[in-house]
């Protein structure tokens, strides 16, 4: 069924009896060509591009819970391509371009809103760094715009530019950045993949791999064994737990990141703002809630909930740039488990086991990557060679000293 304005009107006039489920509820087949583990944004996007762009078939996505129950449904929905390094920027710009055509491509309203993102500058050194970053972005075909304090004041009159400790000295804007309705991304990819014959199997946890003579030939699941020519792991925060079953240790620690939503307010924040002197980022949802977050809690965790010191730290960051935040009440907060890698960048690669592929290490920034991650992972699965925008995301980059470390922090995952 195609969704359209005409269809909405027709259904409104006929009592909404014609809407079917958006994807089929299927039982697993005994064998597939491709088994994708993890029904998050990346797993579903991988299945969609495998079927649509790379014309592959016999594809299944196995999800231990329900699709969209992981980080794809827990993030703060910011998309952008404002990276510095060559290994990253072409990939994230490719992703932003895919976001721009996503809704037409999927025939699904994912509420892609290019409301712009603004990174505030508070020191002269930071201005130099942001000018450099902006130039790197432009060289890679992205957009970047250095704004003066006066230009920022015009759009965000309530910002405290004169804070004695953290004065706002300008900002780097990416006008094509913005937000996307996160659940709709999972649902849109699921529906579009399903329409192209992909089996989406929920409540199906992968509990082990079938590995014979160094080749992975299938998976064991809570719904029985499933054979596959290629097995593609794509489980974000659970990466280490899953790959341990194949005997692998990863350059990843799992950490908890919290997110917060205030009570609904009148329209106030036209775009996304980030505070540059601490760690705080904020946007306003279409329902009016201020959606914000900051640093990860900083210790290994699978608990999907964080602790109070970080709540205080995030709120202090917010209060430093817009003190009126203190008058709003917090409505909801939650946590998600981040696959923090050793250099802050992801891995999309074959493993040393034939037929077993890995996608993970997304840290707190994998939502914006969803379309490109799916696209390049599908490319790798179909062709056994990396997509041109993802050649640097290899496992062996750590051994070879080819880290992609945007922040220059070294192998300390909680600092990325």
């Amino acid at each position: 069924m195609r969704y359209s304005g005409f269809k909405v009107i027709k259904e409104a006039l006929t009592g909404h009896r014609g809407w079917g489920p958006a994807w089929r509820d299927v039982d697993p087949q005994p064998a597939y060509d491709y088994v994708i583990i993890g029904g998050g944004g990346h797993g579903l996007a991988t299945a969609y591009y495998l079927a649509s762009v790379y014309k592959q078939s016999r594809i299944a996505v196995l999800e231990k819970g329900w699709i969209g129950g992981g980080n794809v449904g827990r993030n703060t929905t910011i998309i952008r391509s404002n990276y510095l390094l060559d290994g990253n920027e072409p990939f994230y710009e490719f992703s932003l371009k895919l976001w721009e055509g996503l809704e037409q491509d999927l025939n699904y309203n994912a509420m892609v809103s290019q409301r712009g993102i603004l990174n505030l500058i508070h020191t002269d050194a930071q201005r130099d760094a942001f000018i450099r970053r902006g130039n790197a972005m432009i060289l890679n075909g992205a957009d970047a715009d250095l704004l003066t304090t006066a230009q920022i004041k015009k759009r965000y009159p309530f910002l405290n530019t004169e804070n004695a400790r953290f004065p706002i000295k300008g900002g780097l804007a990416q006008h094509r950045g913005g937000t996307v309705r996160h659940d709709a991304v999972a649902w849109g990819y699921a529906r579009a993949a399903d329409q192209r014959g992909v089996d989406i199997i929920q409540n199906c946890e992968v509990t082990g791999f079938t590995i014979e003579n160094g080749t992975c030939t299938g998976v064991e699941t809570t719904r029985g064994a499933i054979k596959a020519k290629k097995v593609a792991a794509c489980v974000a925060g659970s990466s280490s737990r899953l790959m341990e079953k194949a005997g692998m240790r990863l350059p990843i620690e799992s950490h908890v990141l919290q997110a917060f939503v205030s009570e609904g307010l009148k329209p106030l924040l036209p775009g996304v703002i980030t505070f540059g002197a601490g760690h705080f980022y904020c946007s306003q949802s279409d329902k009016g809630g201020l959606v914000f977050g900051g640093d990860i809690d900083g210790y290994n965790s699978y608990a999907q909930r964080g602790n109070l010191p970080v709540v205080e730290d995030v709120c202090e960051g917010g209060m430093a740039i817009f003190p009126m935040l203190g008058r709003a009440r917090l409505l909801r907060m939650w946590g998600g488990i981040m696959d923090m890698s050793m250099d802050g960048s992801p891995i999309i690669d074959k493993t040393h086991i034939d037929g077993l592929y890995f996608n993970g290490g997304w840290c707190y920034g994998g939502f914006k990557a969803t379309p490109a991650s799916g696209y390049v992972y599908a490319h790798l699965l179909a062709n056994d060679t990396p997509h041109e925008t993802a050649t640097a995301y290899r496992f062996d980059r750590f051994a070879k000293g080819l880290m992609i470390d945007e922040k220059g922090q070294g192998n300390q995952p909680n600092l990325h």
Binding site: I252, N300, A303
Partner: protein, 95 residues
């Protein structure tokens, strides 16, 4: 989280800096034949279990001692706290 410091008693975890897996105490031998491979593993690979995890916490905002904390990563419950110095000595790391 409250960390029960062996010398100072219960302290807020916010006084500490988290430094990762306690296996980092066991620095490989730089003269071993496969030292490069060992250091690559040591520097970049982690166990990352869901459940009991032994990890290093540095009391940066306190007495600057290093602790080995055993904590459940699924509940955040802390079951054991030792001085990293004692752990290292027991493993024969320093005299």
């Amino acid at each position: 989280m409250i960390i029960n410091h062996p010398l100072l008693g219960p302290r807020d975890s916010a006084e500490f800096t988290y430094m990762g897996d306690a296996r980092l105490i066991n620095r490989p031998d730089w003269q071993a034949d496969d030292a490069v491979a060992q250091f690559t593993d040591y520097g970049y690979l982690r166990d990352n279990p869901a459940g009991a995890h032994r990890e290093l916490w540095f009391h940066e905002g306190g007495d600057r001692s290093w602790l080995v904390v055993t904590r459940d990563t699924t509940t955040h419950e802390i079951t054991n706290v030792e001085l990293a110095r004692d752990v290292a000595r027991a493993e024969g790391r320093s005299k």
